[in-house]
Symmetry: D2
């Protein structure tokens, strides 16, 4: 229980933390790859939104169906679509703010027994609701730290 | 081509139009069913966001995979989840604004040939990218009109 | 109705017709490609069984579930598995005889209304029960004729 | 390795063992439920064939695709279809003989490394090729013993 709580809190903090992490970056900085063969901060920011959209949908499928199919998505292909490379990060910060607010209301309303409900991920097999929470809560934090660390490296 | 353009424009206008449509409604008004056995405006607003999240994901799957599975979702079950019934519409207006901005950038970047690409919807069968656009552009407008008409009926 | 009847009758006749078509062929003849880059008669025979196993399963899924997923199979990959290349055709003639007998009993027991029931094929989209019947009844006949024609060409 | 061997041998022995198990039973005996609310021997026999058809297909999907979907089937619904209740067991004994012969050739041809290949079963999640072998080898044996035990109980 305490464990869910902290993962949900990380999702609740994500929108502001991410906004702060990218604050004041120029387009040129946003478009600088965060290491060789790595995504740039713009792509990472958009990717966090895409991942969370998927996580939100998966959780709702798991709560409203019996062992629903959880469709994987090809994150590397999504990250090179034109909007991932060119769209303003502001749009995505807005999206993430609204999404996480609803998502947190949803998660905090769930009965304790819900967290063992399962979906079938077409690559990973069974995933519980808690697995999805843990995976994506950590995923957001991990990319957030990646952005912060890269700015420090670049002295931006 | 002209046809895509107008559907995309409807999605571009949706966030502001929806904000205007629900402007100034009290919580009590938001929670009044829009007819017998119908959803209330809060649920409709959250449902528009959920539908568009699905549409956005489906389009990206179609563009990044060969005939991907498009997973249906049970909209009636989603609409009675706690966040659909209780979360502030403001969160969803924010979500829709950010989502539609990225979505429109994405759609306007696509080569003309993309619109015949297909996914396999697990209830409807084959759906082209254009089918998804048309369906969800009309879907948003239709619910928008439903809200506007209900406010007029109620003289709100 | 008459249309179903003739397709079902073709499946009923298939086991004997196929046995006759491959009668007396040596292993060397069975292993001779039926044209450049084509399967040999052994592979074709085993492939007919595999296709019919899939058709039988799809029909039963369609009759016992609401819009079931119909999983495609990669016939070219199946045809180069060791058993497709090496197993005795006698095994497959036996398999097809038993399978078609049960399959025909099943199909003749169905209410007329069943033939419009649908499954979702992950490449072709919606397929009705009748679509599956027509496709695989013709498929068996077509490969049967391919074998007969090839023997004539080879004067075997 | 030794473990696979014994499971494959059980499948190799199944056709003859099953033929012996149902030998000489009258239609009336075949149609007698094997306990309250249980299937009769005719249904059990046809069910063994259906299960093995599914197992054979799943194994071939696993060998020819990367993490294929393994579609469950509703065995209780299949068992009450008209052919499961009425078709002659002889058809199914013939089907099983041909099927198991090819299946055994296939399994004995596989490289040792194949047995850890995976599919995604839409209820059970990940299943390796070895999981499928073990499950269905035991499944056939278990129903075979059920038939033998029921005949002894009935002094048939």
């Amino acid at each position: 229980m305490a464990e869910q709580t902290s993962y949900i809190e990380a999702i609740e903090r994500l929108p502001e933390a991410l906004r702060t992490a990218v604050l004041g970056l120029s387009d040129k900085q946003l478009d600088t790859p965060a290491g060789e063969g790595k995504w740039n901060i713009r792509q990472i920011t958009h990717h966090i939104a895409d991942a969370n959209i998927n996580a939100y949908s998966r959780m709702k499928l798991i709560m409203t169906e019996k062992k629903p199919i959880l469709k994987p998505y090809d994150q590397d292909q999504w990250a090179i679509l034109t909007d991932s490379k060119n769209a303003p990060v502001e749009s995505t910060l807005t999206l993430i703010k609204g999404l996480c607010e609803r998502w947190v209301v949803f998660m905090r309303s769930l009965p304790e027994t819900s967290w063992t409900r399962e979906g079938i991920h077409l690559e990973n097999g069974k995933m519980t609701l808690f697995d999805v929470l843990k995976l994506y809560s950590n995923h957001g934090n991990s990319h957030l730290q990646q952005i912060v660390a890269f700015r420090q490296d670049m002295k931006w």
